[in-house]
Symmetry: C2
């Protein structure tokens, strides 16, 4: 179970041939075990070639066996025990409880996709029987199923070292679809990545999967670009910053054969507080503060933008939120770069005329305490920069004078992963006006509660209009995520014996 | 029923404010009635604004009423009678029988989408019930449905003046999805476009659809670009040339908010003849020639590339095909530009060393007789240009010495709309090796028959890997085409009263 720093290609571990890369504990700045190196260009190439060579064999693996592979990965991850969660804590500064919870989500996700594969409904099979006597022309026999697109590149996400990294949602859904996967581990948790890659490899061996069905590379943006432009890669799954995502989307489009890059990028997850929800402003403020600062606010679904009515009840909510946040201790952020970006985002808010600071957080090179700023609807409408995501424990409250003016502003906001409305029965009329506008701007609409906490389920959408994602018709969480790595094919008049197994 | 040359915007007819545009009979070069003008930039803008304003009302129209709208369009098109088919023949030089048949396909397509809308399965609804007692965290109530993406721009196709133009497949599927449509009519059949737009408008009025649900503009590439970059447009449907499609895809990606451009572009539709299929080479050659020259070969699914075994039987097939094609009369092409491109394509084939002409067709400014050329697998592998689409009655036969070498070449061909295999029971072993490779390269796989003739059905895929289309996970023909204009949204803990009607 030692972390060595190696790269996994075609079932073999070997040292990366690129520059050194260091595993660091963000809480202490100390180096962690493992002699990591980025993967060299020839290693990227070999991993992609191995995936392409494995593709025909892997797509032919019976569904039952593919499901067993996914379950074996889950079992192997579970078997890593505390070694894994301790390394998560060491590399990310996320609390132990979160590490254990995220491991649970990761293995449940793999097992859920195993059940999806077994069930077979995801194939979306259709059949039009032949009508040989139809006039003026006979109808042929047509059968449709969905086939795997081919090798998929997956990028580990910094903020979900297990659930959206080496064997996270993108990998689980791509493997479930029947696509070989090449992962680029996130450089902020290379040791966790190696441990999980080992689990995948053992599962692949144990269940007799073709060599090359899974590889894991180390590296940064350069390795990522090389991976996306490799001609053997057919689709990409990415969760991260807007800048990183857009660069990969562009690389995917510039190729001789363009490919879809499914990038989940950024979202401020607007929350609309309707007047009736302010009966107990203190209670609502406690919930809001809890969601905003959870794990230093490092969630894609962090509620970074809250619309609150003008007036005394709204004032009370803002005051109570500020008071809650002022008591919130400093938390270590995932990386110094993330802390720095958070500090810059907060600074940009504070520089806007008409923005008032109500909880003045501090962001150091490593840690952050929460910031809360407020402004009015006019300033928010005028200053486009205010709606940019600040990744971390930082929120913006916008005070609105009327639902009518609010709806007008909501219609103009960028695409979001989530949009939440708080209200009571007395707010239903207002909600009827607000909800259709939010539905047009978001992938998930909540009534009450807070957007952090993304259920891995059949009816989940973790997606949304650009720039929340690059592909609004898809989700990266939940069973529907498998659709990103499938393509429909129609078979006309094929004899039973020559039809794909799934259509016989 | 007179053709005036006007543009339809927000339910009103008005003259285009751009340059004049002429309706021409390609068979005679004569002008046809109608004082056509391209739409000016402000007309494009107003049509898109009208579509955006109509979007919330149109998406709220009950499904039953939306289905009636689609059926009313079909009825109004039928009611145009001979006026419509005569104008099709005059503007396209397609035969009367084809015009009537295409009208039948168009109205059937609209009625099929009406049934899809009524049925509601296309919404892909999912429900995870709340689990309030689940440990460690309760599960919320989650319901998923698919919502319309918003205003869609549709480009009329030159080669399907009815079935893939103003009220063709893209328009039918977008309107079925609940999206307002702005059509750019193809400049090669502006009069047909006006007649059909009138039918749509009458149907919209008759069924009480919101103003702006449908507009039709006239123009060329410039108007098309303006339409795609209009910020209110959320998706685009296009069928046409690779150059035209790629330019629109790029325009869609360059926008501040990128949008999907569903472009169906080009395909040579490879046909593999296995040895057993050559028992009667003359019969097979007659079928091939019939498919290749049908309506001057102006089908996206024209069988432009045929792989035939070396040896006597294959020679006999080539000779018989050449003889069939030599007897085929000259046919008028859709436009002089298409005739010119066909001539250039044929010329490029003939210029390649190792390519032999077996039927020397002639392409004039307006008409074409069929061309057939042959070469061997080595030349085909070496000369990438040979696999480019030549739109028109022109085919390339590649002779292959063994299935093994053939499979190697097939694995390297570009993405295709269709791939066809001819064989008998004795060829099943070879077919088992060929079919998986073709499945990876095409959207529809046929056993026997010819790819021309695309059934509008539930199990049809008219799509395929790039460059056949820009979006291999989708189809532009068949009921699955509706998925291009939908986006999943998840609703968390919404009270019954506030849920979308479809989820209550």
């Amino acid at each position: 179970m030692n972390v060595t720093g190696a790269t996994l290609i075609r079932g073999q571990w070997s040292p990366g041939t690129g520059p050194a890369l260091h595993a660091v504990n963000p809480a202490t700045g100390q180096s962690l075990p493992g002699d990591f190196h980025e993967s060299g260009p020839e290693q990227v190439e070999v991993a992609c070639r191995a995936a392409a060579e494995a593709a025909p064999a892997y797509r032919a693996v019976p569904r039952e066996q593919r499901a067993s592979f996914l379950e074996a990965i889950a079992d192997e991850i579970d078997a890593l025990g505390d070694v894994l969660t301790e390394r998560v804590v060491a590399e990310t500064a996320l609390p132990q409880g979160r590490a254990a919870g995220e491991r649970g989500r990761t293995v449940n996700q793999l097992r859920l996709f195993a059940s999806v594969v077994r069930d077979g409904d995801y194939l979306g099979r259709r059949h039009d029987t032949a009508l040989p006597d139809r006039q003026p022309l006979p109808r042929p026999d047509l059968r449709l199923t969905h086939v795997p697109v081919g090798p998929v590149a997956v990028f580990g996400a910094s903020n979900f070292p297990l659930a959206f990294s080496v064997a996270g949602g993108d990998t689980a859904s791509a493997l479930a679809a029947g696509c070989p996967v090449v992962v680029k581990a996130h450089p902020a948790h290379p040791g966790v990545s190696e441990l999980v890659a080992g689990a995948v490899q053992r599962a692949a061996e144990r269940t007799g999967m073709p060599e090359g069905v899974f590889s894991m590379l180390h590296g940064g943006a350069e390795v990522g670009q090389a991976l996306v432009v490799d001609p053997r890669i057919r689709a990409v799954g990415f969760t991260g910053s807007r800048g990183g995502g857009l660069a990969l989307v562009e690389a995917g489009q510039r190729r001789e054969v363009p490919i879809p890059v499914y990038a989940e990028m950024s979202s401020v997850n607007p929350v609309v507080v309707l007047p009736g929800a302010l009966a107990d402003p203190g209670a609502l403020a406690r919930e809001f503060a809890g969601s905003l600062v959870k794990e230093a606010g490092q969630y894609c679904t962090n509620p970074g933008l809250v619309f609150v009515p003008t007036g005394d009840d709204g004032d009370a909510f803002v005051d109570a939120s500020a008071a809650e946040l002022a008591q919130s201790p400093a938390q270590v952020m995932l990386t110094p770069a993330i802390a720095q970006a958070c500090a810059q985002g907060v600074q940009a808010w504070r520089a806007v005329e008409g923005v008032e600071v109500v909880a003045a957080g501090e962001v150091t090179d490593a840690t952050a305490t929460p910031t809360l700023v407020t402004t009015d609807l006019d300033v928010f409408r005028r200053e486009q920069g205010l709606s940019a995501e600040v990744f971390g424990p930082a929120g913006l409250v916008v005070r609105y004078p009327s639902v009518e003016e609010l709806v007008d502003v909501l219609a103009g906001i960028e695409g979001q992963l989530t949009a939440t409305v708080h209200g009571t029965v007395q707010d239903h009329d207002a909600a009827q006006r607000v909800l259709p506008v939010l539905e047009d701007r978001a992938g998930r609409v909540l009534w009450g509660g807070w957007p952090t906490g993304v259920e891995v389920a059949t009816a989940m959408v973790h997606g949304g209009p650009f720039p929340a994602t690059s592909a609004p018709a898809t989700t990266s969480v939940g069973t529907l995520a498998i659709a990103r790595f499938l393509r429909p094919v129609s078979y006309q008049n094929l004899p039973e014996e020559l039809l794909p197994v799934e259509l016989r």
